[in-house]
């Protein structure tokens, strides 16, 4: 409690303060501008430990920029981004430090190491030594091998382990990337459009996969356009528009919201 | 695995070795080694120095043809072996080695820059070859295996400065050069010489620029400023090759006329002027040991034959060409005197050989392996030629070790027995520089 206060001396209203200490992720008044275009506009929301949250919104609503802000790729012009009950100010850290804290991110465009095998992709992602010099002499332990086996089971790519990452199908790459996130064992997963370009069956499988991950204690934030998928997830939904939260609630509540309909369908 | 390893080593090792060694060693089997004497030509045909050196390659080929037409040497035809060291200094050493070791040439004509000569020097010493070096250079060297047919600084720079002092009344001097060893040495010698003539230190401005310097605005403006101090000013330019054109263009642009501030250059000859519109440069000077415009029958005959050979009736001639010609003729004469091409016999035989130069006199190879030369001062004309305005009355002997330099004032060179030394110290009475 005291740390929070020293970290956040500025006057914050009571509710926000409660949220800050309890939330895993805490965004308040985050604003980002690119060459005059306001990508995020005083965006505020929180994610609780163990929560799975879906974020929807039209193109340009600021979903990816929001993720960039959380993961340290973009520095907000204004506003706060805190992690782990307000103990860590994410705006002061870079990507690598944030990742080490336990925030994993899957990109919109599936990004796996294409000239590595699927196995090596997971090996690289697996939680463990990250410094350069020790890794020259690193040996794989049995424990690590077992963990990789486990993840392979989860993401159902066991039989593809010898193939190159670049040779996988689009859907398989998405899964591999999720698997790589799992291997990092993060507290919070940020998943950007995981089912883009997937078949219906694959979409359903992915939803199940994410639910399973969430059930294992990882917090998850999913950005997605696919409403079927969001419905499959069955979690709290937040709609972004022009860089701030337009509506929040269950999918039904949000999709019934008039402003949401207006934004999505146009006037 | 170890099986595979040894097997691979056995097979592949042999294959590669055999292939490479054969390919390199056997790529040019001397066809008729018995009937010809090989002459190596080591001039850059590509890269930055091709601009100057290509002509010298052609000159050697011309001389070889002339000599063969006249019956060859020792009853054998000469055969030129041309290689391209591509303006790359280590490649000079490699090609020199190839010429001497593989092609077994009797003599090499080559090099332009000092660094290329320095690069091949150890090779010629090791393999006991003969190199004729045809370009004016900084001196401070005398090697058993090298014959220097270009000018040493005292055969070019000092007479030029004398001319300017006497004829133009120059009191203030800009020594502008490219930052490498030739300009550094020349300027150092000139500085000492000028001071000995009573020129004050503040009346000497020294400026060095990098190779290929192309933006001369500031420096030319500085020269202009330096020259407006109320005393007659001249520029002594040791600016090298590529940088000269933009330099002269800038002089012309800023309206510095020869009548205001004359520029005397030691590295600008007919070839270099061929690339410049010389109308704004009329009256600027150059000091050489030969000009194409020298009006003597030998020169006229040479130019005519050269143009016929190169099939271009506008092709110019220049000083390093003359130096190549002199060197070539000296070598032929020495070989005929010695009756063999064996360097151990030819090298001593070369000392004392005198051949006609192209300015109507004779040049002789001195015991320091440098030749005697007349010094000519020319003014640039509007057709890119030089008007010879002054000529030293006699021949000048090269000072390979400059008496004006601290490190070399006690050194002399004499390759005759019994001295046989390139850097004999007259103070200590020993061979081997200042030490020992």
């Amino acid at each position: 409690m005291s740390t929070t206060e020293t970290l956040e001396p500025a006057p914050v209203d009571a509710i926000a303060k409660k949220d800050l200490t309890e939330a895993l992720l805490y965004l308040d008044g985050v604003t980002v501008t690119f060459d005059g275009f306001r990508a995020l506009n005083a965006l505020s929301f929180t994610v609780d430990p163990g929560e799975m949250r879906a974020i929807i919104g039209p193109n340009g609503a600021g979903k990816t920029t929001m993720m960039d802000c959380i993961t340290g790729k973009t520095r907000p012009d204004r506003g706060d981004v805190f992690f782990a009950g307000g103990t860590v100010d994410l705006t002061k850290l870079d990507e690598t430090q944030i990742c080490t804290l336990g925030i994993g991110r899957k990109f919109q465009k599936p990004t796996v190491f294409e000239s590595h095998t699927v196995l090596d992709n997971l090996r690289l992602a697996l939680k463990g030594q990250r410094s350069a010099l020790p890794n020259i002499f690193r040996k794989e332990t049995a424990e690590q091998r077992d963990r990789i086996d486990e993840i392979f089971e989860t993401i159902k790519l066991t039989e593809h382990r010898g193939r190159l990452g670049g040779a996988l199908s689009h859907g398989q790459k998405q899964w591999l990337e999720i698997g790589m996130l799992l291997a990092q064992d993060p507290k919070l997963l940020l998943v950007d459009e995981p089912v883009a370009g997937m078949t219906d069956a694959e979409t359903a499988q992915t939803a199940e996969l994410l639910r399973e991950i969430n059930a294992n204690g990882h917090s998850v934030v999913v950005v997605e356009h696919d409403m079927t998928f969001v419905r499959d997830l069955g979690v709290r939904v937040m709609c972004l528009h022009e860089g701030s939260v337009l509506a929040e609630g269950t999918l039904d509540q949000v999709s019934a919201n008039e402003r949401v309909i207006e934004v999505y369908l146009g006037r | 695995m170890s099986n595979l390893f040894t097997h691979a080593r056995r097979v592949a090792g042999r294959a590669l070795l055999g292939a490479t060694a054969l390919a390199i060693a056997g790529s040019a089997v001397p066809a008729n080694a018995q009937d010809t004497i090989k002459v190596g030509v080591l001039h850059s045909l590509s890269g930055t120095m091709a601009i100057s050196e290509t002509t010298l390659k052609d000159t050697v080929l011309f001389m070889v043809k002339e000599q063969n037409d006249a019956g060859g040497v020792l009853g054998k035809k000469l055969e030129a072996v041309v290689v391209d060291p591509a303006s790359n200094w280590p490649l000079f050493a490699e090609k020199a080695r190839e010429l001497l070791e593989k092609e077994k040439v009797a003599v090499v004509f080559g090099c332009w820059t000092s660094v290329s000569r320095k690069s091949v020097l150890p090779v010629f010493k090791e393999l006991n070859g003969i190199l004729f070096y045809p370009v004016q250079y900084e001196g401070e060297e005398s090697e058993r295996n090298v014959f220097y047919t270009g000018a040493a600084p005292n055969q070019q720079a000092i007479p030029a400065v004398d001319y300017l002092m006497e004829n133009e009344g120059v009191k203030r001097w800009v020594l502008a050069g490219t930052d490498y060893v030739y300009p550094r040495t020349t300027n150092k010698i000139l500085e000492a010489y000028l001071k000995s003539k009573g020129v004050a230190a503040e009346d000497i401005m020294i400026n060095y620029t990098p190779f290929g310097h192309s933006d001369w605005q500031t420096i030319v403006a500085d020269i202009k400023k330096f020259g407006s101090a109320g005393k007659k000013t001249a520029v002594v330019s040791t600016i090298n090759g590529d940088a000269n054109v933009p330099f002269y263009k800038e002089l012309g642009n800023q309206g510095i006329k020869a009548t205001d501030i004359p520029v005397v250059a030691f590295s600008v000859g007919e070839e270099e002027l061929a690339g410049i519109d010389t109308k704004p440069l009329v009256g600027h000077l150059a000091a050489w040991n030969y000009f194409q415009s020298v009006d003597v029958p030998e020169n006229k005959a040479f130019i005519e034959k050269w143009r016929a050979f190169i099939k271009n009736d506008k092709r110019v001639t220049n000083d390093p060409m003359e130096a190549t010609v002199i060197g070539f003729n000296m070598w032929v004469k020495a070989v005929e005197k010695a009756g063999t091409t064996d360097p151990d016999v030819v090298i001593p035989a070369l000392i004392g050989v005198a051949v006609p130069n192209l300015t109507g006199g004779f040049s002789a190879m001195m015991p320091n392996h440098h030749i005697t030369k007349p010094v000519l001062i020319g003014e640039i004309k509007d057709d890119g030629q030089f008007d010879v305005v002054s000529q030293t009355p006699g021949l000048i002997v090269a000072e390979e070790w400059s008496p004006h330099l601290e490190g070399s004032k006690d050194l002399i060179s004499d390759w005759r027995s019994p001295m046989n030394c390139g850097n004999f110290n007259v103070k200590t009475g020993k061979c081997g520089g200042a030490g020992n």
Binding site: F34, D35, F37, T64, T65, D68, K73, T74, K109 | L45, S46, T48, A50, I51, T54, T55, N167, E168, D179, Y208, T209, P210, G212, H213, S214, D215, Q217, T218, I219, A221, K224, S228, A229, G230, D242, V245, P246, K249, E250, G252, N253, Q254, G255, K257, T259, P262, E271, A274, G275, I276, D277, K279, P280, V282, G283, E379, D382, G384, D387, V389
Partner: protein
């Protein structure tokens, strides 16, 4: 008009002028003047000192024939026979004329031209100056006054004073007063007051020449004169230091415009298309050689057009190098899109081939590209010395920049180029012929490099190595300015040029350049995508 050409016309006018002059020159005895055998005999010795002395005598002789002799000497048409020591004038047809009577000589002996060196040229100039002071043409008098002032020849003082007394034109009068002051200032045996007046007059000029004149105050002069001169010198030097800074900025702008020209084509092929175009320098070189060929053709077929040769060369170079560019794009580059680094290798290979092709075709030596008369000479703007050649290059660079900007912004092909480079597939699906656009874009970049070559032929070597010397600077400019941004290239070129020239006086040419490279390297750390980086998230992915 070039100085030489001006000088020529000067001499031609002399014949007429001299007859007038001979009446005005004090002490010139006309009866005695007709006998020129003395100076002519001296000339025939072909010794510079004698010739110079003879010139002085000729100028003062007042003989109408003297002008013709001086003019012939300046043009190299004064000849002498080494055997008989006779002097003749050779006319345009090659016939020998008697120098005084101008009648053809019957049995002409073998002759040699009388040699002229800088010393003789100066003497000729001084003689001309003294003689032209009384020209009826005010402009010529002005020139002459300035020439006399520059020569500071005491011998001209009487003539100058006579001319000054008669002068009515205020501008010429000022110039003559100044010229007189320039001579008087160093003269022995004048009153301190007179000398101080001269010092003040000269000091008011405030330029480099004035400095030189002020420094010629003799040591024997009165202390107050020396003090006045020293004050004037200090004042001028302070003033000139400020102008010197401005001059350096101008040099920087001029260097910057050269960099801009060299880099702007690369801003298209590299900046817009992403081809690491190592053959860019060779395109510049081809442009310079095109200029050479155009000038050769003009010299051969229509020398009158020579002054327009550069204007003709510009479109020719653009088309030729543009065509070569299209050829390269169609045969090599188009297979390499999306593989930027491989374009480096291929274009490096192409650059070697082009260099060697030019070396084979034109030889390895420099080729002469002449400067048209409107690019020669210099003028003063305040105390800024600006050369016409550099000024035109600056203007030209900006014109090219504006034109290119216009093409990209305003034309259909420009729009298509931007569309294709931003999103090839989308552009293709909208019916843009991407192949054609690629070829045109590369052609445009190459063509502009060719135009740059036309300009650079005026200040640099036209040799096969020309391109090599610009390629590194060009890449540096484009990268420094920000890839893909023409304005960045402009600002990059100008800031590098000016920074270079401001550093040069302090650090020297080499250290200045090194310092600049280090600054650029450090700058890129600060702004990893150059001065004018495009922002936004699209860049990263």
């Amino acid at each position: 008009m070039t100085t030489i050409a001006r000088f020529r016309s000067f001499c031609c006018a002399l014949a007429f002028l001299l007859s007038v002059a001979s009446f005005c020159l004090p002490g010139a005895d006309r009866a005695q003047a007709q006998d020129l055998s003395g100076p002519l005999g001296q000339i025939a010795t072909d010794n510079y000192g004698n010739t110079e002395a003879a010139l002085g005598e000729l100028a003062l002789s007042g003989s109408p024939a003297a002008a013709g002799i001086v003019s012939a000497l300046a043009d190299g048409n004064l000849v002498f026979s080494p055997s008989t020591r006779q002097v003749f004038i050779r006319n345009a047809a090659g016939a020998l004329l008697d120098p005084v009577t101008l009648q053809p000589v019957a049995d002409a002996p073998a002759v040699k031209p009388v040699r002229v060196n800088n010393r003789i040229r100066r003497a000729i100039e001084a003689a001309n100056g003294a003689l032209s002071l009384v020209s009826p043409d005010a402009a010529k008098r002005l020139d002459a006054a300035q020439a006399v002032g520059r020569s500071r020849d005491e011998a001209a003082l009487p003539a100058l004073e006579t001319a000054l007394a008669k002068e009515t034109d205020p501008r010429v009068k000022t110039a003559m007063t100044l010229a007189r002051a320039s001579i008087v200032i160093a003269k022995e045996g004048i009153t301190p007051a007179e000398r101080i007046a001269a010092v003040e007059l000269v000091g008011a000029e405030g330029n480099q020449d004035a400095l030189a004149i002020l420094r010629s105050v003799p040591d024997s002069a009165a202390p107050e004169v020396k003090q006045a001169a020293a004050d004037a010198i200090a004042g001028i030097e302070r003033n000139l230091a400020i102008w010197g800074a401005a001059q350096n900025v101008w040099y920087g702008v001029s260097l910057g415009s050269v960099l801009l020209l060299a880099a702007i084509g690369l801003a298209i092929t590299f900046g817009v298309m992403g081809v690491i175009n190592m053959a860019h320098g060779e395109m510049v070189m081809l442009g310079a050689y095109t200029t050479f060929v155009v000038q050769e053709l003009i010299r051969t077929y229509n020398p009158a057009l020579f002054d327009a040769s550069l204007l003709i060369a510009i479109p020719v170079a653009f088309l030729f190098t543009g065509l070569i560019g299209v050829l390269i794009e169609r045969t090599v580059i188009r297979f390499l899109y999306g593989r930027a680094l491989e374009t480096l290798l291929a274009t490096w290979g192409i650059s070697l081939i082009i260099q060697q092709a030019i070396r084979t075709a034109f030889g390895p030596t420099n080729r002469e590209v002449g400067a048209p008369s409107w690019m020669s000479g210099t003028f003063d703007l305040g105390h800024l010395a600006i050369t016409y050649g550099r000024l035109w290059i600056v203007i030209f660079a900006f014109l090219v920049f504006v034109a290119l900007l216009g093409v990209l912004r305003l034309t259909r092909i420009g729009l298509e180029m931007r569309a294709v480079t931003q999103n090839r597939r989308m552009a293709a699906s909208m019916g843009i012929r991407t192949n054609w656009v690629d070829a045109m874009t590369f052609g445009l970049g190459s063509g502009i490099a060719g135009i740059a070559g036309v300009a650079l032929s005026q200040i640099d070597n036209v040799s096969p190595n020309l391109g090599q010397s610009y390629i590194i600077d060009s890449f540096l400019v484009v990268v420094f300015g920000g890839v893909g941004n023409l304005w960045g290239t402009l600002v990059g070129a100008m800031s590098l040029g000016i920074a270079n020239k401001l550093l040069e006086p302090y650090a020297g040419a080499v250290l200045g350049k090194i310092a600049l490279l280090v600054i650029v390297i450090l700058f890129i750390q600060k702004r990893p995508r150059g001065l004018f980086a495009l922002k936004g998230r699209a860049i990263e992915s």
